[in-house]
């Protein structure tokens, strides 16, 4: 039987919570999620059943047969050797051309959106030019590309050409050694190759690549004319050389992409005419052939075109030219013009609303089987996922009107129906947003998908305006353009559109780990529990700190040291990316790069320097406990605390209980919240905001967690919040520590709402009562909660709606729970694909009930 929430007394009456769908009364809690998937067509049901998932758990791929391909690395290496002596940007374009001209193209049964990025749909490509160490990592695994000896040779070939070899020498080896330990800060991007990008999809769909080629060729012709002007002026004339090279590279890249897409068209035709026996599929293959001949060469004319052109653009920018995590775009706005043509006007590729829903379901399944050649470390920190894929919906349009439309609804409906963990999505919450769409948002959340995660529309728009003022070429987002934003990855907002989008992860995503930094601060910068190394400057031993302020200052210095290093590594990485890892295709589809003849990695118009403090709340709760028990109440000395920590609390159980019971974040406790607010505003955001990055803007915190709350938790010793060494840390940038938010959901909101200065992009994870969300009052309560959240000016929130009973049942019999989805951090995962350590952190999160006080605070009418 399903669990039904108990009745409560509210505003003088008894409110009962019967399930909205009475049929669910007969479904046991232990299997609810297995009853929720409803693929809208037989085709998507089949595609989901045969989906080639690439999820990884604890660094291992969950499905058999998944492995790295060798084709891409072979072809990029062949091109690199053959292009020696040419300008680097041309070499990059020729590298892409060689891959696209010679690679294997793939067509799978039943699919309509086609295209893959490796030589077999069970494989994924590797990128030795980005990170040879990642290839070395695969070479010693059971997923090694074959023949492995060739793969080893390729990895070795790239060592002297790598960003790591070039950038590393500008750093003190001691600093680099600290970074490679990934305990106080992340490893440098020039070693990991981890990246994210926001492709300007709009130009591909609106212009088509033939038009982009024409534009580049016209620019080259004009440049040559300018260079030939008399009298010769070298101060201006020589600038054209780089520009001409960039435009030529763009032409090479665009032509290669067109030719590659048309190879797919030819494959469809060949299969239709020579292999396919089903007349209906044969006809469909010929239609797909027609679409793939026209796009992305030509502008899209209908919704099918748009899905296909978008997919190709994604593959090139995220998976073939170079690796980049993410799926950043504002999908409803991008597709709406084509939805209108196909669904409303029916003037090209006519279809019904349900056909559009099916298209979205098919797109979700393409993403679900997309493989990313990430190193083991990056597979471990996204447990249960294949990679991070996040797009954005909703919000307001440029003119302030509601950005929700029928395409938004089709996307949400498909997402609810097909029930896949990828791609995740963000919904920009604006009071003006229509209720019809918000109800679909609710249904996705209620059904346990963990997304959409919700971002505050106005805060995001203001952030775009704020960053625009630092634009190095005075061409940041206009007030109108500031409305066109989407999450770049889990949390940080960034512009979308025809130009000014984020092109590389040097602009954001540097991870720093405050809990570990606090740990080493207590011991003069020395890490006794994990690395046995000096991990930062010598800032004194905590037992000598006479005041809490001395500890605060030492922590601030340690944090500043790590933060400077992380951002310096990012910017040095960017410096070399713009010289040896140019992205001519991405440049070709960006209006700014096209106009100015500058590579996408080099040009910056809109700063977007969001970086990730992860494990902040463990550090924050620890500071509260230290202040209360050592400096205010003087119940213990710092020396005693350090002894207890060194013993991992063993023999100090009473003391641990006191530290564990000290006030915790998320309970609207003024004592704790004052310290924690100062910690966020003075240290976490305050130190960051003094830094100026490559793009000329300050960097700001986008506190989140991914799976690093587990990874770094395991590397962080016992902490003064009462936590044992090795236990997971907090699962979001501003989320209460698991199980410690005990005063109800609105107390959490009140705490979080107190942090306002220097930041507004912190992840808030909440787990809401499943029986209340599935009751007849579920939407009204959630909607009131969201209004309260909005009024408190909080930037983000996301939800788990899943029962402990079902998660525990899945731990016992995983094979029966393939559709059980949970929100981990900035991504969702199939519960059974997460290692037990991670599963237990989800179970430990407090399932928030709504009491009468919460309902009153939210002013909900029931």
């Amino acid at each position: 039987m399903a669990r039904v929430s108990q009745s409560i007394k509210y505003r003088g009456k008894v409110v009962a919570f019967p399930l909205e769908n009475p049929a669910e009364n007969d479904i046991p809690d232990e299997e609810l999620h297995e009853h929720l998937a409803k693929p809208s067509t037989e085709r998507t049901r089949k595609l989901k059943a045969r989906c080639r998932w690439k999820h990884a758990s604890a660094g291992e791929f969950c499905e058999k047969g998944v492995r790295a391909g060798i084709e891409r690395m072979r072809l990029i290496t062949e091109a690199h050797k053959a292009s020696n002596g040419k300008p680097e940007v041309i070499r990059r374009a020729l590298g892409l051309k060689n891959i696209l001209d010679k690679c294997t193209v793939v067509l799978q049964q039943d699919e309509f959106i086609i295209g893959y990025h490796a030589e077999d749909p069970n494989m994924f490509p590797l990128y030795p030019e980005l990170a040879y160490m990642a290839v070395q990592d695969y070479n010693i695994s059971s997923y090694a590309p074959q023949p492995v000896e060739e793969s080893k040779d390729i990895a070795n070939y790239w060592i002297p050409f790598s960003m790591q070899s070039r950038a590393g020498k500008y750093f003190d080896p001691i600093d680099l050694g600290r970074m490679y330990n990934v305990s106080t800060m992340e490893a440098p991007g020039f070693a990991t190759g981890y990246n994210s990008v926001v492709p300007p999809y709009e130009t591909v769909l609106e212009d088509g690549l033939l038009k982009r080629i024409e534009m580049a060729e016209a620019n080259i012709a004009n440049a040559k004319k300018e260079m030939a002007k008399s009298p010769w002026d070298a101060t201006k004339g020589l600038d054209w050389i780089d520009k001409i090279d960039n435009w030529e590279a763009m032409v090479i890249a665009c032509k290669a992409v067109i030719s590659w897409a048309r190879r797919h068209a030819r494959l469809c035709r060949i299969v239709a005419e020579n292999f396919e026996t089903d007349p209906k599929r044969k006809e469909e293959l010929l239609e797909i052939a027609d679409i793939n001949y026209r796009v992305p060469a030509e502008p899209c004319k209908g919704l099918k075109d748009a899905f296909q052109a978008k997919w190709y653009t994604y593959l090139i920018c995220h998976a073939i030219d170079r690796y980049a995590s993410g799926y950043a775009h504002k999908e409803d706005k991008l597709l709406l013009p084509y939805y209108k043509i196909s669904v409303q006007d029916k003037s090209f590729q006519p279809m019904t609303y349900l056909d559009a829903v099916e298209m979205v379901e098919m797109e979700r399944l393409k993403i679900s089987e997309h493989g990313a050649g990430k190193s083991r470390a990056y597979r471990e920190i996204f447990p249960g996922s294949n990679d991070l894929f996040i797009f954005t919906l909703g919000g307001l349009n440029r003119d302030g009107s509601d950005g929700c439309n029928d395409m938004t609804d089709a996307i949400l409906e498909a997402t609810r129906n097909i029930r896949t963990t990828e791609p995740s999505m963000v919904f920009r919450w604006a009071p003006e947003g229509r209720e019809k769409t918000k109800r679909l948002v609710f249904e996705c959340i209620r059904d346990g998908l963990g997304f959409p995660s919700i971002k505050h529309d106005k805060i995001g728009t203001e952030q775009m305006k704020y960053y625009a003022q630092f634009s190095k070429n005075n061409n940041g987002a206009t007030d109108e353009e500031a409305h066109d934003w989407a999450n770049v990855l889990c949390m940080s907002p960034g512009l979308v559109g025809r130009r000014k989008t984020q092109k590389t992860r040097s602009e954001g995503g540097g991870s720093i780990f405050p809990a570990k930094i606090l740990e080493v601060t207590l011991t003069n910068g020395y890490d006794w529990s994990y690395t046995d190394m000096q991990m930062g400057p010598e800032t004194g031993y905590a037992e000598n700190f006479k005041t809490f302020e001395q500890l605060w200052d030492a922590l601030k210095k340690q944090y500043a040291y790590a933060m400077d290093l992380v951002i310096r590594a990012k910017d040095v990485c960017r410096y070399f990316e713009s010289r040896i890892l140019q992205a001519p295709f991405t440049s070709a589809i960006d209006d700014g790069c096209m106009e100015l003849g500058i590579d996408a990695n080099s040009l910056t118009e809109q700063p977007n320097g969001w970086h990730n403090p992860i494990t902040t709340v463990v550090a924050a709760n620890s500071l509260v406990a230290i202040k209360k028990l050592i400096y205010d109440e003087k119940k213990y000395t710092m020396k005693q605390l350090l002894e207890a920590l060194k013993a991992n609390w063993e023999g100090y159980e009473e003391m641990q209980k006191d530290f564990k019971n000290a006030p915790k974040w998320g309970n609207d406790d003024d004592y704790a919240d004052k310290i924690i607010k100062d910690f966020y505003e003075d240290i976490i955001g305050g130190v960051m905001s003094k830094i100026v990055n490559y793009s000329g803007g300050p960097v700001l915190p986008v506190g989140q967690a991914v799976g690093l709350y587990m990874e770094i938790g395991s590397r962080t010793g016992p902490t003064p919040d009462g936590r044992f060494g090795g236990e997971a840390a907090d699962d979001g940038g501003i989320s209460p520590y698991m199980g410690t938010d005990k005063k109800g959901p609105t107390a959490v909101l009140r705490s979080v709402g107190k942090v306002q200065k220097n930041q507004k992009a912190n992840l808030l994870n909440q787990r809401l009562s499943l029986p209340i969300m599935r009751s007849k009052h579920g939407f009204d309560i959630w909607h009131a909660y969201m209004k309260t959240w909005h009024d408190l000016n909080i930037d983000h929130v996301q939800f788990n709606v899943v029962s402990t009973a079902e998660m525990k049942a899945a731990q016992k019999e995983p094979e029966k729970h393939q559709d059980l989805i949970v929100r981990v951090a900035g991504f969702s995962a199939r519960f059974v694909d997460i290692p037990t350590y991670g599963q237990n952190t989800i179970i430990a999160r407090n399932e928030q009930e709504f009491g009468a006080e919460d309902l009153e605070f939210m002013n909900v009418n029931l």
Binding site: V106, Q108, P121, N122, R262, L267, I270, V271
Partner: protein, 57 residues
């Protein structure tokens, strides 16, 4: 010696294709595994020595 051009999986590139080259074609091979059927297409040249999957026209 068998060559690609005599293989049933070889399809000559049309003269109006972007990637046309004399003798070039697509090697289109059907594949099947527990997840279903798929096709792989890779460029090759007619006179090339055929691979072990040669399938006479």
């Amino acid at each position: 010696m068998s060559t690609c051009e005599h293989c049933g999986f070889f399809f000559l590139t049309p003269k109006d294709a972007d990637d046309y080259e004399a003798g070039k074609g697509d090697c289109v091979r059907p594949k099947k595994d527990e997840k279903g059927q798929y096709w792989l297409s890779k460029p090759t040249f007619g006179p090339n020595e055929a691979c072990p999957e040669f399938h006479k026209k």
